[in-house]
Symmetry: C2
């Protein structure tokens, strides 16, 4: 019934049982962007997209840049929500836990994604770095104050939220009704399309997360994920030079399985 051994403690993790967790060890606030937002590479991807100079300046005035090492936590489910974030580099996972340790990952975030909105002033999920991560961090109160003057910002957030909602519904269909192989195929297709959207090649897909993260994202065990990879490989749909690199050999068949 329960997937008890939900692993979680990882090396270098600034987790609950690390006495220094409060200090977010390894987290660094830094300023290494000469020219500021104006020179930001990912402006086009993020909420900053198509904002006026005045708006950008207002955002820039209240942001702090931060770095997180792999498996470090940005915040825990239930923490009082103080900040919102814009991911400028790396991959993040959002997850929720049941009291016995079963975990569900609700999404992987990439460069350009936005996170942090909460309900009743508490985060409803945990956010952890999968890879090395860089974010722009804003105090929620300051961020929301900008809405008054820049409705465009809120408009952009609503568009993003609608999109996330549609993705969440796709994921519900996946979790509730797809077989393990279908789940994995859908997952890989989505990773590919996201990579493509960022100008990366879509065929040798690089998966930054491990099998355990994939399992908890797809509602499976790591063994079933591994077996599904093996099945797709034996069927000639994929090649796996290493566990984190997927070469698609037969896109048509992958698509047939995914939808």
């Amino acid at each position: 019934m329960a997937d008890q051994r939900s692993t979680r403690s990882q090396p270098g993790s600034g987790g609950l049982f690390n006495p220094k967790a409060q200090q977010r060890p390894g987290t660094v606030a830094f300023r290494d962007l000469p020219g500021g937002c104006a020179a930001c590479q990912i402006r086009e991807l993020a909420i900053c997209q198509a904002l006026s100079d005045e708006e950008i300046a207002s955002l820039e005035a209240i942001l702090t840049q931060q770095r997180y090492a792999p498996s470090q936590t940005l915040f825990y489910e239930g923490d009082p929500a103080q900040y919102v974030f814009n991911l400028t580099a790396g991959t993040l996972r959002l997850s929720k836990l049941l009291s016995d340790g079963r975990r569900q990952i609700t999404g992987f975030l990439r460069t350009g994604d936005f996170l942090g909105f909460a309900r009743d002033d508490a985060y409803t999920y945990t956010a952890e770095a999968v890879t090395q991560v860089e974010v722009c961090r804003f105090a929620i109160t300051e961020f929301e104050a900008l809405f008054q003057h820049f409705p465009q910002l809120e408009h952009r957030l609503l568009a993003r939220a609608s999109n996330e909602l549609a993705e969440a519904q796709d994921q519900m269909l996946l979790l509730g009704r797809k077989s393990p192989t279908e789940k994995l195929a859908s997952f890989l297709l989505r990773q590919m399309s996201k990579a493509e959207k960022m100008g990366e090649p879509s065929s040798p897909v690089r998966l930054p997360m491990g099998r355990s993260d994939i399992a908890d994202y797809l509602g499976l065990t790591i063994e079933t994920v591994s077996r599904s990879f093996t099945k797709l490989r034996k069927d000639g749909v994929l090649e796996l030079p290493d566990p984190n690199t997927v070469v698609v050999r037969d896109l048509q068949r992958l698509e047939d399985m995914g939808e």
Copy 2:
């Protein structure tokens, strides 16, 4: 893409194979609200909440009221998105289909809920009436035009979207990691809290949807849903005077099972 037929034809259904389906048989545009929005009972629940008189007037100018009979369809997944809706009475189900007919219900909507935002101008899910339903319908173009003048409206929608997103994540946790009994318990608890929020009694909960809808919402079969109900009943947690009425006998235990 959508497999329209998917078992689900129900008596009185205005489905695809009904020759009059294009006309939405039984759908009635009506005006039976003397006094208009000003007199609307559910203003406090809906997006209209706390809008100025001017804003309400603008909304009222572009709205059409409509009625749908049980199992009638408001729109199908993939339809070009022309309208957004505010549900003023009854219960609605949102669902997505796989090509072979497997269905996932992504949510049940109640009085006061808002629906219709789409991606790329097409609806991403199907919306059907569970009970008799009444809605206020707005043309999307006209509705969005209001954002320019009334940012408050967009603010309200963002708040709703954030909330829906949090609920969607709860549902992912449910679908991916909970056992059938836990799923049913969580479902009942949520129905109870929603009923309570609308001033209805929380203990004899009325479930407007059938077992098949519950199954497709929880990612189970109807048989497993039925067996889970039976289990909760035999354990003394519930009573079931009839299949659509749930009396909670042991709330503590229900809560323990749900989370």
